[in-house]
Symmetry: C2
Subunit: 455 residues, 2 copies
């Protein structure tokens, strides 16, 4: 056979520990503040929403946190995920760069999201919880938690952003096949949802609204906890299996990346591949550039303020310091539903402030152009979110060709696009607009950021 283009690890190489970047950062991340008092919160404040094991991970500064055996048992269904050398893409680009990608689309739900869904379901089950509530945008997260809930015997209720609920009936069907209940948000089931509907009966919903609904249900029901698919420290922690495996696979390939790339919405798949490499950089002084890629229509890292803000629209969540467009910001319609959140993970934001990562924003047409080239050369159709990472990898490779350089590029293919084919259809039909955020709306939204004494 010709040169190797796929690097696989045995089941015994599924990581035994998650990697916690908090242990290696040169400065600790800012505190989390109570939504009502503005004072730093403690574990007990979060207890209505999360089991204590997850709260412990949220505030931990231990470098390594053991992955429980029942979680690794389920990871074995699809992990370790393959790492590929993109030789077909390299050839099509005529680049002198080497391009590698980690394929998280091989999970049963089709994305990286089950890495944390399984862990969260496990710890909730262990704590005697019987029901989980959550929100979902495009549906990758909701279907992943539904998958994990089915395997652990937990009831799962998903508040799905109404516009996605209507546009993506097959994601909804996937959640229902796994046994979860899925309702359009804003719904009439919660105070938060009813308040939005009273003001805006035709509201298309937003992740911020759906989070308010899911949090409210957990706060009001003793048998129900809340699960979030991105943003929080423990969620990013669970995703580090991606980067831990990738480091070993790149060694197998006798390569170490000069550049590591991930798309970033709330930041979890990006952190999953990037944090283990950043940790290695901090400890071993290995040189690596790390790039977060976001949509130009929701440019949190590149255009947002770095400030304390709420995670949701109804201001039920704690305040965290992050890059934010303001909790009132509603991005224009574009096809990467997983990248539409108004904020960015506090840990990713902190890394940006520390100069550990770069960020860039792309319009959607060049991203789909990249995704189609990837599909035709590598055989895998990426999710619209992942296309942002593909675009950045291609741009880095083209730049290398111009400069006569031969860098090694690694990106995370966070999910496949089988549930997103309407977006590709629209792209081929020339129906996609290269939308930008509205500067005036952003200015207004940022003017309403909460006033916080700690700043």
């Amino acid at each position: 056979m010709s040169e190797q283009n796929k690097y696989i690890l045995g089941e015994d190489r599924i990581p035994r520990e998650w990697y916690n970047i908090a242990a290696d950062l040169p400065a600790p991340p800012p505190p989390v503040l109570h939504p009502a008092t503005g004072a730093p919160i403690g574990p007990d404040d979060l207890a209505p929403l999360f089991p204590m094991a997850l709260i412990g991970q949220e505030v931990s500064t231990e470098r390594h946190i053991e992955i429980p055996d029942p979680v690794r048992d389920i990871y074995r269904m699809w992990r370790p995920t393959p790492l590929h050398r993109a030789r077909g893409l390299e050839k099509a680009l005529g680049t002198t760069a080497r391009i590698f990608y980690k394929n998280e689309g091989v999970s049963p739900a089709g994305s990286h999201k089950p890495n944390t869904a399984v862990a969260q379901a496990f710890y909730n089950k262990q704590a005697g919880v019987t029901k989980l509530s959550t929100e979902t945008g495009a549906g990758q997260w909701g279907s992943s938690l539904a998958f994990a809930g089915a395997l652990f015997g937990l009831e799962v209720k998903v508040y799905m952003v109404r516009v996605s609920y209507q546009q993506k009936p097959y994601r909804r069907a996937l959640m229902e096949t796994y046994g979860a209940k899925c309702v359009a948000s804003p719904s009439t089931e919660t105070d938060s949802g009813r308040a939005v509907l009273a003001a805006h009966p035709d509201s298309p919903g937003s992740l911020g609204i759906a989070i308010s609904e899911a949090v409210e249900v957990a706060a009001k029901n003793a048998d129900t906890k809340y699960a979030l698919g991105s943003v929080l420290n423990h969620v990013l922690l669970h995703q580090t299996v991606i980067g831990i495996e990738a480091i070993e696979q790149m060694e197998q390939a006798d390569a170490y990346p000069d550049v590591v790339i991930g798309c970033a919405g709330g930041g979890s798949n990006f952190a999953g591949i990037a944090f283990p490499f950043i940790g290695k950089k901090l400890r071993d002084k290995t040189d690596v550039r790390v790039i977060a890629v976001e949509p130009a229509a929701c440019p949190t890292l590149t255009r947002g303020a770095y400030a304390f803000d709420f995670g949701d629209t109804a201001h039920l969540t704690p305040m965290v310091k992050m890059h934010t467009l303001g909790s009132e910001f509603i991005p224009p319609g574009f096809h990467a539903g997983g990248l539409r959140y108004h904020g960015m993970s506090p840990l990713v934001s902190h890394c940006k402030e520390l100069g550990l990562i770069e960020a860039r924003a792309y319009h959607q047409n060049p991203c789909f152009e990249a995704g189609v080239l990837f599909a035709r050369t590598e055989g895998i159709v990426p999710a619209p979110e992942s296309n942002h990472a593909v675009r950045a990898a291609i741009d880095e490779a083209l730049k290398a060709r111009e400069e006569g350089a031969s860098p090694t590029i690694l990106f995370n293919l966070s999910g496949h696009g089988h549930f997103d084919m309407q977006a590709y259809t629209d792209y081929f039909a020339g129906k996609l607009e290269d939308l930008d955020y509205d500067p005036k709306a952003l200015e207004d939204s940022l003017a309403h950021l909460p006033k916080v004494a700690a700043e």
Copy 2:
């Protein structure tokens, strides 16, 4: 970690040879007859449709046929596929049986079909062919050939059964993302299509009609060859990588199946898992039951005649001896679009006549019930076609519980259901009917089987 439930092989264990069951059968299969003369055909008669390498495989009696390196290189993208022990399903059933499944849904197109699509694209490319024409029903085959065509730089034209073209726009989008052209069949592009439209302007199409269109285009254009996704000997040959890997993986699991199960439409995924086990049975006298599962609405093996028949509606293809419902037979609408063909692979039919396999037929609701249970216990949503195999595996396991037996059951999970979620939605809504074939229509259709001197 707990007991092993996944058996993986390294890249070096991708088979180096396909297995040709013709070498081991106790009686040779009947000849293939010319559509016009009724006389046995030779390789030259097939040359307008297929490159000579594939024709050679079609008539070969060699036991092992080498897999070319460029084909194995592409197989490496997803092969060897994992074999799983279905411990979650076993537990839910309370069965004493051991249930294993081979997961062919991990390919980039989501099914077993790329195993032959890649091989066919390779041999056509090697022969200087630049265009391939084919048909597709549900779209698994069309998208797989589109995938393979993209990787080898071949233009692919797909005639898609009109009712599927309309109901499954996302399968079409997948083909187009891979760069293929897809048109609804019957189309106005061919004599065959125009003839059907003249008689039935609202024709929903059928696989038999779409085959006629694709064959006609290949026969009339020197730069175009035809590719078929099932039925033919060389197609089944390419699928034997499934069973060859499964034999090695079952040895890894220290288990050998008492029962091997596959769903059967044209017969290719069924033969892919079954033929290597049947060959072993014939050579080593190992005991194994082999079960083909088909839909009650299109019961080729259980209700069809074993007779010479055409493969298509316009009678452009050679006649082969097979279990057939007659080339005029149109099954009622049901959701396993890949199991709607009027005939069955001649080799599978021959095995049935030789008593080497059993066959059974199921209605669609019990199949979806089985698929939902599988999704909730094993985490993978099967394609509607694959649900037939899941149902049979569950029934064998339940029978074992009743009998106090502990058999080892292996089935092929031929593809995932991510493009078929409408079917699950309809199932949950109680909209699926347990359709039967129409006995009168079958009688009429069988009355029009071609008269063949060789019989």
